[in-house]
Amino acid sequence: MRKMLAAVSRVLSGASQKPKCDLHRLEEGPPVTTVLTREDGLKYYRMMQTVRRMELKADQLYKQKIIRGFCHLCDGQEACCVGLEAGINPTDHLITAYRAHGFTFTRGLSVREILAELTGRKGGCAKGKGGSMHMYAKNFYGGNGIVGAQVPLGAGIALACKYNGKDEVCLTLYGDGAANQGQIFEAYNMAALWKLPCIFICENNRYGMGTSVERAAASTDYYKRGDFIPGLRVDGMDILCVREATRFAAAYCRSGKGPILMELQTYRYHGHSMSDPGVSYRTREEIQEVRSKSDPIMLLKDRMVNSNLASVEELKEIDVEVRKEIEDAAQFATADPEPPLEELGYHIYSSDPPFEVRGANQWIKFKSVS
């Protein structure tokens, strides 16, 4: 019966419901109303729920010491990765920093490959060689560990887009902490100078590790920090706001006007990483308030149910399916073997004949294959 309902439903009835985005050097911003189809709504819901449950599973596996090292989770920020993906094409490009599991999924990799990479197994998307911060997919350039370094990289990918003349854009993400890196301003300058189709996106989750934005930045209006680059500030907890802003920004770039900057105001429930409980620099009350008032999945669910796009039961079914998918993926990630020791030396160089790589002493040699 639900499936026979009108496929289209007007979601926001008036401009009063959501304020316009804050704009910098822009006459107009993204539209304040949009159309959400049932199909899209269900897709976004499923994707966000998958990211959420995947991150929570990673938390569990980390506490069981099956995942090691760094693990930066993005639960709370699902509307960003899913919303951005909804606003671009698969042929567009995306690069981000280390809080990358959500983007790795939305850019097309499976939960299996992602969890298996986190557990360091050969079925991981980087064959266990990279771990949490170094996952790559088609048109997705990671996963980068050095704060801020991904921003010039993203501008370079945008340069390639312009060079190739195919109307593609590059989404270049960084956090509120990284926003103070000098190389980002170098990238802004060159992107603007050369009119690169680069959408700089600051995912502002209010804290750079343990340092709140007020303690780190002389100006916390991150959407204005591009100075000569037009910018907009967007509610990063509302997936439709993110989608519309992304569509707007992508259209701007594709028209050849040069780069644009988007600040997504969002929030992470976890600490900076698994070694940070996340409550020494913020209160549990604050975290709870965001969860109860602005949770992105809850917001979408409420919207869909209230507009009769889906029933509560239907969405619960999706929850069950997602849980199963995550369980299966976790099983795989736990059971899959580690990469074979013989492959320790592999992938040093691309396209080269095999050669020898030195191990811990001169008698230990590993073969290196491209």
Binding site: H93, I95, G124, C125, A126, K127, G128, K129, G130, H134, Y136, Y141, G142, N144, G145, I146, A149, V151, P152, L153, G154, A155, G156, I157, A158, L159, A160, C161, Y163, N164, C170, G182, Q183, E186, A187, N189, M190, L193, W194, Y346, H347, I348, Y349, S350, S351, D352, F355, V357, Q362, S370
Partner: protein, 352 residues
């Protein structure tokens, strides 16, 4: 070819002119220029970016004429933003282009070294073989003349330290052209350490070097001079000093085998070892600082390999002095290996 032209000229009563290319003199600068020009023409994904590379024709004129020929899209002047433009170049390489990123000198590459190492060198490995980075970083390296400490550092050891990078160090024009072309065609990040003082030096260009497909393989050293008494291994400008030292010593009956490394990483130990096993003596010569340098690595590897048992004396290193480069000429001259220092080291090793 001369015979044919003579025959045809006889038939047609016309004169054909054909000059043998063998005696061609080309400076290192022009050799690099030629190499880049040919690769830019061959593959439209290749482009050059850096400070002053376009409209200024290159800070050292190495890219002279390229902007005029290829235009703004392929030859790009950057602002003074090494970390930014090196990162942009690496990103472009990740997205499938083949950038040549020029550092005005490698001293400035320190500002961008994170992009070279963490974004370029390590990525193919970290991605499990999914993401190659076909980029070339090039520019002058090491000491120049009177440019003092901040502009005179040799980065061969620093870049040579890192798996995932290839590092080459041309000496003469043939090296310069063959190596830059190989570097551009290589699908990996390659650091090309040129030398400012060598840019203007002409060398004879053999016929094969004049071909558009002339490549020198990365990872292969060249024996510039055969010898029997001692192996002298070097890279970049000091190779010339080693040959001078060898000429002087030859008159005294000492025949040095001079090896031009051409590549720092992956190092061609086989050529060096085979030579040491023949001569039983080894001196390494480099412009960089002694501690943790190229020579130190060669000596360590000699100890680990078959050549150790053939040494009749400890291996010896000749290097730059262990100081930041001074300015005054007398001090600067004594901070880099001179011919007399190489001769002295060779004689000490041979105990003569």
């Amino acid at each position: 070819m001369a015979a044919v032209s003579g025959l045809v000229s006889g038939l047609l009563k016309r004169r054909f002119h054909w000059t043998a290319p063998a005696a061609l003199q080309v400076t290192v600068r022009d050799a690099i220029n030629q190499g880049m020009d040919e690769e830019l023409e061959r593959d439209e994904k290749v482009f050059l970016l850096g400070e002053e590379v376009a409209q200024y024709d290159g800070a050292y004129k190495v890219s002279r004429g390229l902007w005029k020929k290829y235009g703004d899209k392929r030859i790009i002047d950057t602002p003074i933003s090494e970390m930014g433009f090196a990162g942009i170049a690496v990103g472009a390489a990740m997205a499938g282009l083949r950038p040549i990123c020029e550092f005005m000198t490698f001293n400035f590459s320190m500002q961008a070294i994170d992009q070279v190492i963490n974004s370029a060198a390590k990525t193919y490995y970290m991605s499990g073989g999914l993401q190659p980075v076909p980029i070339v970083f090039r520019g002058p390296n090491g000491a120049s003349a009177g440019v003092a400490a901040q502009h005179s550092q040799c980065f061969a050891a620093w870049y040579g330290h890192c798996p995932g990078l290839k590092v080459v160090s041309p000496w003469n024009s043939e090296d310069a052209k063959g190596l830059i072309k190989s570097a551009i065609r290589d699908n990996n990040p390659v650091v090309v350490l040129e030398n400012e003082l060598m840019y203007g030096v002409p060398f004879e260009f053999p016929p094969e070097a004049q071909s558009k497909d002339f490549l020198i393989p990365i990872g292969k050293a060249k024996i510039e001079r055969q010898g029997t008494h001692i192996t002298v291994v070097s890279h970049s400008r000091p190779v010339g000093h080693c040959l001078e030292a060898a000429a002087v010593l030859s008159k005294e009956g000492v025949e040095c085998e001079v090896i031009n490394m051409r590549t720092i990483r992956p190092m061609d130990m086989e050529t060096i070892e085979a030579s040491v096993m023949k001569t039983n003596h080894l001196v390494t010569v480099e412009g960089g600082w002694p501690q943790f340098g190229v020579g130190a690595e060669i000596c360590a590897r000699i100890m680990e390999g078959p050549a150790f048992n053939f040494l009749d004396a400890p291996a010896v290193r000749v290097t730059g002095a262990d100081v930041p480069m001074p300015y005054a000429k007398i001090l600067e001259d004594n901070s880099i290996p001179q011919v007399k220092d190489i001769i002295f080291a060779i004689k000490k090793t041979l105990n003569i």
